[in-house]
Symmetry: C2
Subunit: 755 residues, 2 copies
């Protein structure tokens, strides 16, 4: 256990490194040459032009104005300046609500910290239990923790009372925040401009029909079942192959540009390349000629594939985007069941066009269920047994392992320096490499599950990552040993023992988690603002690929908040704060600093840097809420375990009330607020429809929605004619049969005079 | 442990008593005097008239035709005769599907029993483990069970294979049955005649409005948000007080009729009664005069209350039944969310008018949640601590207890006969009395939860009873001790130990459960057909209250299947069958006899006796399915525990696959079939609307739906005018303000020409 000097030293180191990052940022930020790295958002918005255009050349690259260096921290107040409505307008609701998570952390933990330091720390300090035990080393942090209270002391009731206060305060904060976010979401949806997804429903699992194409079948079904509301539909093409060709061509184009730039700078010598993998081996050829011909080949294949997709009926997926005349009609269709068989004609709100995950629109119902089962099993094994493959790779990466597989390397390996490197770094590197790739693996698993939008993909991946971190970082740090050993332990231990095991281990681990917060939290947040990797990438691209301003625009990588990775990590800090609030309150200031710093940095980033790929209207908030509730329940249960080892009579049932109430509160909140994130109320839809009808009576929705849901590879190419509209059909002899059902419908439409 | 002779003896006794019941039924059934007890369903249908009308007097009461006595078992083939479609038409889908539960039992267990007897019983018999142990008493039942296989024997793999076969067979049977029932339900709903609930939605939590009454507010809201579909609505009056007055009056009327009959038979003496509770004490008065004046008083109070309810705006509950012009409109409204705030304007399908549970329509959202929490806590305590109040009452009912509370009774109690009674019977009677009342307590708890229909009330109560039986009968019989002691044991035991504890105890308890099946199952089913209590009640009423044929009609008590009690009990037999299928297959024939007998008896009862109070269209099937799945998972998990004590290497993971697959299968089935029981697809609604429009173009729905959802106490009294219709409003100066929003709506209605 680290003494308090170690902690102070570590805190100082970490504070200094964080400060160094911030200083580097402050300096780099004001160099005109980095402007596009640190303010890409404004370029994308068109409100900022390249600063290189005017003044002496050097000024274009380096900032020589001394005064700006003095005010190097002025980004902080600037970041806080923008009021929330403007922020939502500027960066979108997703981002604005995302930073509210950090704010919620401050709201929860600042009052709890104040109370804990006013009440619990003095009580713990005067507990005097540790002094009486001979031969035990303890430090001031331990003296401030619950460990210093003797077993069975009535002082422990203060901790129980504090748990009650902290829990109720957290629940209150959660409740108000859920209310605020759902209000923001509803306001956002209400004031939002017309968007194609408001009128559109995604229909999946269109049943096959022998007589009709998918497109005809969809049209007939919705003409019959939503006669007053149906407007048009857009079939989905299986263009995954085409999309990958387009991707490949883009990459070849980049190489061609690179070699052309090289050639322009050094016209004496034509650049060469090798035809093999990554230009590393194979025949040496003239690079520009090679890539030009490759691009030509690919263009032909692309055109061929494009032709094939558009003409082949098998390339049409049994799914469609169906648009309605009114938002009301779309809301009705999205929320109701269409057919007897609930596995066909599945309707759901269409995601925003940018948000559609095209790859998984065609998966049938049974396959979807099997995929989910397999992924659940895979996730279970990944979480609990992930140490096994790592141990295997580590054994391969050991000296004996390498010598066995590559005997010819033996003389190299046996050198001292190499040996030390293999023994000292390789196992750790393997672990780090794996851990860094966990989010990617989880994202791949979520993709295999077959969700239809990028936002739900991110949410599903975040849910998995949260569990993974909970088991492998939180529990893994508290109870030594790999996760599958913990699992074995838990299965062979009485349920009442588990909270005890955790409860006893938690106070001991306080100093470890303080270091963790500083290294993983503070330093990572400070590094976040520096954007080292986009900075380097931009300058490389700028040097070799950029020719026009448009190229420069494309070379910018504003990035976006990776919700699937960042949010589960925040949850770890909520969990630590809630767990330690009563036990070792000294951890709270570190968490508060983390939340404050993160709030500041991310507020700056969403204003100046990030450009979100899609907008889900804060659809992730129910997940955030649920995970904080999970953290709260864990904190309550482990306290129960700890108290039972401290021999506080009747504390069990008293604390047991809390998790029951917390879970009930969660159900209550879900009923109260969640539908704002899942459904779209008819009243809202009607109001928007009515307003629109009044302000824009001549709007032609058919044109507006025409190609909103075309696969991105077809977009803006003009090849894709607008879908056949109902009126245009009149002149189409091929679809004359379609008239019959529609006439039937007209006859079926209820005549209000008869009622 | 009972020897096999005991079992055979017990089986003989039980078979004979069951046979005696059946014989008594066969004789009583053909007596004309009992006709209305054993065939009330046909009287209610109007296809059977009183048999007393013709022939000599004695023939009206006793059947003297010897030939009918010879064919005394001919009700059995008769019960099986009616084909299923006719049965559904005759008794309703609820009843027809209810008896399919027994049929499902046969489908699952007959093949499993055949296979088990062909394979497992020989294997067990030759296991020879029990012979090798000295000093242990065992019987042939044990020899046929898994106990006879020595630990670690490879023969146990046969049992694991058998578990796989049994599980897959059960899942297959469940899947096909779910498919059949959902198809039956959809067909039933599709061929159903026009019913008010097809057009109607129950709206709860109408928000208060200062300017408008509930009725106006509902009308405006639906005129705006469902302009094309809204037809009319019916507000709900809080008539609970009035309903209880009506009930009271009916009971007084019965007493008056009774005394009038007594007086008619013995005109010399006017009957007397006492004014106190149940006529047991108080002043003695002339009975006929007393009841006549009491009824007069009550009639006045009733009229007053009726007036008050109809005129007082506070008697209107913020809930309403909203009817639509088409089934499509109702389906849309029931499945969508109306308002931003998901706790107001809650819409759900209206239950059938008979099925409405009027008392809980007015409960606001927050209160509903709190009630659910309280009831969940109460149910937890009832289940796990129900022995505590019983032990308390039993201690009061002991000799010391009675002497303490009522010292004056000491001399009476100290008599030997009384003492023996108190010591021997009273504690058991207290327990029996409590157990018999558990379903009533659970039903009261479900009522307090605030569900809106009788069918969901029964389902909620059944779910509780199922858990109660699982904990207190199944686990309680296997692990001795009260439920709260079990809970304590489970909490302080490793999770991996729990299946072991159960797994080891289960083979030992086989003989106990065989007796249980015979006493609780066979005898109860045979008693069911005898209808002893309705038989006696009918003859008492017939003697004292019946004057006209209408009275006799009312004196009949056809009863109905009490789903909330009967279904959880069936589940116990499914559970026992699944658990013992592999361990002690000898139990299976007993279960098969139970299912066969029950199927026969209940088929007879639903054809000839029961008259269901409402029709939910087999809405309970998802619950039945889920509970059988629970039983299957329990059986798999306990086998895992048993195998781990039998030292079968690697059996754990092999069996673990089964519960995972079973739970996944349940999720799959839920997605595949459940919506047929929860939602009403738009396609179906449209087809029915279209058909109706074609066949009955002149139908006036407004009149048809007019007073469908009037509280039963107002029904058929003419006091209740039809709700103000949209057209009638024109002449109503008071509601002139309402015109404005409707004109707005007209302006807002989308003009198709513009699109």
């Amino acid at each position: 256990m680290a003494a308090e000097e170690d902690i102070i030293f570590s805190a100082a180191i970490n504070l200094m490194s964080a400060f160094a990052f911030l200083l580097a940022f402050a300096v780099l930020r004001i160099q005109p040459v980095n402007d596009r790295v640190y303010f890409p958002k404004w370029y994308l918005k068109g409100t900022r032009a390249s600063p290189r255009k005017c003044g002496p050349v050097v000024r274009n690259f380096v900032n020589l104005d001394i005064r700006t260096y003095i005010r190097f921290l002025n980004w902080m107040p600037a970041a806080l300046h923008m009021p929330q409505p403007e922020l939502i307008d500027h960066a979108g609701l997703d981002s604005a609500v995302y930073i509210r998570i950090y704010l919620l952390g401050l709201k929860i933990f600042v009052p709890i910290a104040l109370l804990a330091f006013a009440v619990l720390v003095p009580i713990n300090w005067t507990g005097g239990s540790l002094q009486h035990i001979e031969g035990i080393t303890f430090n001031d942090i331990d003296k401030m923790s619950i460990s210093n209270i003797p077993s069975g002391s009535p002082k422990l009731w203060a901790h129980i009372a504090m748990t009650y206060l902290a829990s109720f305060w957290t629940l209150y904060a959660l409740y108000t925040e859920y209310g605020i976010v759902s209000r923001l979401r509803l306001e956002f949806l209400a004031t939002e401009k017309r968007r194609p997804d408001q009128f559109t429903v995604l229909v999946r699992n269109v049943p096959p029909d022998n007589d009709e194409t998918v497109s005809e079948h969809v049209e007939h079904f919705f003409c019959v079942n939503h006669p007053d509301n149906y407007l048009l539909h857009q079939v989905v093409y299986n263009a995954n192959m085409l999309a990958s060709l387009v991707e490949e061509k883009k990459s070849l184009q980049n190489w061609l540009t690179y070699y052309q730039t090289v050639f322009e700078r050094k016209p004496s010598q034509r650049p060469k390349t090798k035809t093999g993998f990554w230009g590393l081996w194979g025949e040496t050829v003239d690079a520009i000629d090679y890539y030009t011909s490759e691009i030509k080949n690919l263009s032909e294949r692309e055109a061929e594939e494009r032709e094939k997709v558009l003409s082949d009926p098998n390339a049409i997926i049994p799914a469609a985007f169906v648009s309605f005349k009114t938002r009301w009609g779309a809301a009705v269709c999205a929320q109701t069941q269409q057919s007897n068989n609930p596995t066909i004609w599945l309707t759901e709100w269409a995601p925003e066009p940018r948000d559609v995950f095209w790859n998984s629109l065609a998966i049938p119902y049974v396959e979807l269920n099997i995929r989910k089962l397999l992924m659940a099993a895979a996730f279970f094994f990944l979480t609990f047994f992930f140490m096994i493959p790592i141990a295997f790779v580590q054994s391969l990466a050991s000296i004996e392992g390498i010598e066995k597989v590559f005997p010819f390397l033996t003389p190299v390996i046996e050198k001292d320096a190499v040996k030390a490197f293999i023994q000292g770094f390789l196992p750790g590197m393997v672990l780090k490499l794996f851990l860094a790739n966990v989010p990617k693996i989880l994202m791949a698993m979520s993709k295999a599950e077959g969700v239809t939008s990028l936002s739900s993909l991110e949410r599903s991946s975040a849910a998995k990552y949260h569990l993974f971190l909970l088991v492998n970082v939180f529990l893994g740090s508290i109870i030594a040993g790999a996760a599958f050993q913990q699992l074995d332990k838990f299965l062979n231990q009485a349920p009442a023992e588990i909270p005890k095991t955790i409860g006893v281990a938690i106070p001991i681990k306080a100093t470890f988690f303080i270091s963790f917060i500083m290294v993983d939290g503070w330093a990572a947040i400070a590094a976040e603002i520096l954007r080292l990797s986009p900075l380097i990438m931009f300058h490389i691209k700028d040097a070799f690929l950029v020719k026009t301003d448009k190229d420069r625009q494309e070379a910018m990588d504003p990035g976006s908040i990776t919700f699937s990775i960042a949010e589960p990590r925040i949850q770890l800090y909520f969990l630590l704060g809630l767990v330690y609030a009563v036990i070792t309150p000294i951890i709270l200031p570190f968490i508060i600093v983390f939340f404050a710093l993160a709030y500041l940095v991310f507020r700056h980033q969403i204003i100046n840097v990030y450009d979100q790929k899609y907008e889900s209207g804060a659809g992730f908030w129910p997940d955030v809420h649920r995970r904080i509730i999970i953290g709260l329940v864990i904190s309550q249960v482990q306290l129960m375990g700890l108290m039972s080892t401290k021999n506080v009579a009747k504390s069990g049932p008293v604390i047991l009330v809390l998790p029951v109430l917390t879970i009930w509160f969660h159900k209550f909140c879900t009923g109260r607020f969640e539908s704002a994130f899942v459904k779209f109320p008819l009243q809202e839809a009607k109001i928007k429809d009515t307003l629109e009808k009044a302000t824009e009576p001549n709007l032609n929705l058919r044109i507006y929605l025409g190609d909103a849901y075309v696969h991105p590879v077809f977009k803006g190419r003009g090849q894709f004619e607008a879908p056949v509209s109902v009126d245009e059909e009149e002149n189409d002899p091929l679809v004359a049969t379609r008239r019959i059902p529609r006439r039937e419908i007209a006859a079926q439409t209820p005549n209000p005079n008869l009622l």
